[in-house]
């Protein structure tokens, strides 16, 4: 073989290797060199190198590098680095911020800086979240405290209102509130032309009860009468303690006859009821005056109408007392303004 022929073969083989490196579709080993093992190995290694690089460029790190030596070893190192980095990234994603990449120069530095920053940011977010939760809890507690205070205030206001209109011993309305309610009821009765009655009630010989059994027993007697009123009356009736041993009941929509019947029931219940004193049992009676005569609205004030209305019941009560006590007397106006009294 001449030198020129040898050169031509080398040239052909060099071009084959270059084509393996350059062309997008790699050439096969020419038929006439097919029996040369080292050329077949070189060809196979270059094909394997091409496959690996092409896959890696597209992000696929799975192909095996099935040749050894410097190039193969270096590629395996690169493959190991990238695969390990993928695994580390998964660990970071799962919350392990202690992962650090080594041996990959700038890339490693940037990755590590990112993980550190991520860690710091997340910690900051978590800290702020915790702070927010704490503030929220405090706010909720503050709201609860305020609500409780508000409720307590409302309750005490309510208690205060009740106190202002109630007689503390008997739990009935006091005189002032009775008058207030009575004026409203009078206006309503006059406006709608409805009947309205009032009963005055006075405990007979109450001074004697106090003197004989003591003030405490006197209080018990008053409470007992108040309880009988509460139990016996309709919810629309308005009973009150009018002063001392005197009680008053306003009965909307009731005529004197209705009111007298109710008064009679009350009289009987009081008569038969007993109070347990310190040493003995106390029995009492009571007298009643009933009135349903209401002056016409005309020129008089409601206040004036009320005072006359009550005064007539009082006159009837006076008559009940005078004629022997423990009875119900109804005011009768048939004979003119002074009026007579019917038993």
């Amino acid at each position: 073989m001449s030198l020129a022929e040898e050169f031509a073969i080398v040239d052909e083989l060099s071009k084959l290797v270059l084509d393996m490196l350059m062309l997008s579709k790699p050439p096969d080993v020419p038929e006439r060199f097919a029996s040369i093992d080292s050329l077949q190995t070189l060809h196979a290694n270059l094909l394997s190198l091409r496959d690996f690089l092409s896959a890696a460029a597209n992000g696929d790190l799975s192909p095996n590098i099935n040749f050894k030596g410097y190039i193969g070893g270096t590629l395996k190192m690169l493959q190991a680095n990238l695969r390990h980095m993928t695994w580390q990234t998964k660990m970071v994603a799962a919350g392990d911020f202690t992962q650090r990449i080594e041996f990959m120069g700038d890339f490693a530095n940037s990755f590590n800086a990112m993980v550190i920053q991520l860690d710091l940011t997340l910690k900051e977010v978590m800290r702020k979240d915790a702070e927010l939760k704490k503030t929220n809890t405090e706010l909720l507690r503050e709201i609860t405290i305020r609500r409780q205070a508000e409720a307590a205030l409302l309750e005490s206001e309510e208690a205060f209102k009740t106190m202002a209109i109630t007689d503390s011993l008997t739990g009935l309305y006091n005189r002032r509130h009775f008058n207030h309610r009575a004026e409203t009821e009078i206006s309503r009765a006059l406006r709608h032309k409805r009947p309205l009655s009032v009963i005055m009630l006075d405990i007979d010989f109450f001074k004697r009860v106090n003197d004989t059994y003591g003030h405490h027993s006197g209080d018990l007697v008053l409470q007992m009468v108040a309880n009988i009123l509460k139990e016996s009356l309709r919810s629309s009736d308005i009973p009150a303690r009018y002063g001392g041993e005197e009680f008053i009941i306003l009965l909307p929509d009731a005529t004197a006859v209705n009111a007298a019947t109710i008064a009679e029931t009350l009289r009987k219940r009081i008569e038969t009821a007993t109070v347990k004193g310190e040493k003995c049992t106390i029995k009492i009676t009571s007298s009643f005056g009933v009135n349903d005569h209401l002056a016409k609205a005309s020129s008089k004030s409601t206040e004036k109408i009320l005072s006359e209305f009550i005064d007539k019941a009082d006159q009837a009560l006076y008559l009940a007392k005078k004629s022997g006590r423990n009875k119900v007397t109804v005011y009768n106006n048939t004979k003119g303004d002074g009026g007579s009294l019917l038993v």
């Binding site: 050894k68 030596g69 410097y70 193969g72 070893g73 270096t74 395996k76 190192m77 190991a80 695969r83 390990h84 993928t86 695994w87 660990m91 799962a94 392990d96 202690t98 080594e102």
Partner: protein, 172 residues
């Protein structure tokens, strides 16, 4: 064998600080490899290649099991275990362990060890040589998971790969 003279115990390693006040705990890698390769030589002459490899694998496995008991037995979380393993391998100068794939449920792992104590820098021999490491990794994984593992070195410095790559598969 009933009468054991060499049954392994960490005590056998002695008190290094006391014994080497001047030379310290480290020695040259050359000496370590000198011992390992002379062992291989003599064992192979007496027992054959296959038996020698088996002995190295089993010795590595014993070492992995013992190291697990000493250093890792308290760890319950797999990722913690791997991290601790990486640190220990590095601190002890065994090699740089890295994980490429880890599927604890399937019991399938791909690990690489760079700058391996046994084989890094060795001449190209055409066969994987890190049999001791295979056993070592198997001992560690078996201890952690409680399952037997088959560990194979698929790439080795000695086969021209520059990184030792091991697959570990749980035997089911």
């Amino acid at each position: 064998m009933t009468d054991r003279r060499y049954k392994f115990s960490w005590d056998l390693l002695g008190d290094i600080a006391l014994g080497r006040p001047n030379l310290g705990a480290s020695t040259s890698l050359e000496v370590y490899r000198l011992m390992q390769f002379t062992f291989r030589d003599v064992m192979e002459q007496h027992l054959g290649t296959e038996k020698t490899n088996q002995i190295f694998y089993e010795a590595g496995k014993l070492a992995g099991t013992e190291l697990y008991k000493k250093a890792f037995s308290a760890i319950k979380d797999f990722h913690e275990f791997i991290k601790s393993l990486q640190k220990t391998f590095r601190d002890m100068g065994i090699g740089i362990v890295r994980v490429e794939e880890a599927d604890l449920e399937k019991g399938s792992f791909v690990l690489t060890v760079s700058e391996d104590l046994d084989c890094s820098g060795l001449p190209e021999l055409g066969y994987e040589i890190c049999t001791y490491d295979e056993g070592f990794i198997a001992g560690l994984l078996e201890s952690f998971t409680g399952n037997p593992f088959e560990v194979k070195e698929i790439d080795c410095w000695c086969t021209g790969d520059r990184t030792c790559r091991f697959t570990a598969e749980a035997i089911k």
